[in-house]
């Protein structure tokens, strides 16, 4: 009887846990000192402050001040506060005043704050 009781409780705990993981967004934060050569991929959210040579892909990407990406950045929503040298592709792109961009930008909606330094080709696609 005691065993049966405990096995009844366990699923309850498990379902609560499952429910929590379903409702929360997987958020990855990569700090300043991280250096990546290769590709970085996530299904939800990346806060990136490091250096990357290669590709970065996610649903939402925040390239923080001081970050540097040489290569390709692909996401639904990208906020750029750092430096990018390469191709950027997103539905929504927010370029902040601290951003420095060189390369190609493919977008559906773009928002640029003054102060940013952009030397790039822009491609609008609906």
């Amino acid at each position: 009887m005691a065993l049966f009781g405990s096995s009844e409780k366990k699923p309850e705990v498990k379902t609560d846990f499952m429910f929590d993981t379903d409702s929360t967004i997987n958020q990855s934060t990569l700090a300043k000192d991280i250096k990546i050569n290769g590709s970085l991929e996530s299904t939800d959210y990346i806060d990136f402050s490091g250096h990357l040579t290669g590709t970065i892909k996610s649903q939402t990407i925040n390239l923080k001040p001081g970050s540097y990406v040489k290569g390709t950045v692909t996401a639904d929503t990208i906020t750029i506060e750092g430096e990018v040298d390469g191709d950027i592709q997103a539905k929504d792109i927010y370029i902040k005043s601290t951003a420095k961009i060189k390369g190609n930008i493919r977008y559906q909606n773009i928002d640029i704050q003054n102060g940013s330094i952009i030397n790039a080709d822009l491609f609008y696609s609906s």
Binding site: N109, D111, Q113, N114, N119, A120, D121, F123
Partner: protein, 157 residues
């Protein structure tokens, strides 16, 4: 009273005839205003403020430029502070502020010092920041050698 009145009338008529004969007062405001529905084709230089709500084709040089939401411009424009809310096809050269509003539709080359773009604006083309060192791909030694070789071959023939 009657005499005075006639005198006044004479004076007035004199003034009126003077006004008709004299040319209109010079406009020193250096302002260009192209209303909606108006089409202009040509070159505008030395203007201080230019407001375009109509269609302007050609070259526009003005300190302040406003291409309003109904306005359309095609050609080259250069100025200090430029605000785009309408259609532009061509080259934009801004020495200080360039503001692109959400109703703007730009195709071409944009050279700017400070740029602000509102969410919703469409830009198709090249952005160049003034003051940035533009990267030119240097001619590699191989290409020079190839050129020399081809020249030599031509001279041999």
């Amino acid at each position: 009273m009657d005499e005075n009145n006639t005198e006044m009338d004479e004076n007035n008529s004199e003034l009126a005839s003077d006004e008709i004969q004299s040319t209109p007062i010079d406009n020193d405001s250096k302002a260009v205003n192209i209303g909606s529905g108006v089409r202009v084709d040509g070159r505008i230089e030395g203007a201080e403020t230019s407001d375009v709500s109509g269609t302007l084709t050609g070259t526009l040089k003005s300190s302040n430029i406003n291409i309003n939401s109904k306005g359309a411009f095609s050609g080259d424009m250069s100025g200090q502070e430029i605000t785009i809310s309408g259609n532009v096809d061509g080259e934009i050269n801004s020495e200080s502020y360039l503001i692109v509003n959400n109703s703007a539709n730009i195709k071409g080359v944009i050279e700017y010092a400070s740029l602000q773009v509102s969410y919703g604006a469409r830009i198709q083309g090249t952005l160049r920041h003034r003051g940035s060192v533009q990267s030119y791909t240097p001619i590699s030694d191989d290409e020079i050698k190839e050129d020399e070789i081809s020249e030599n071959q031509e001279s041999d023939q």
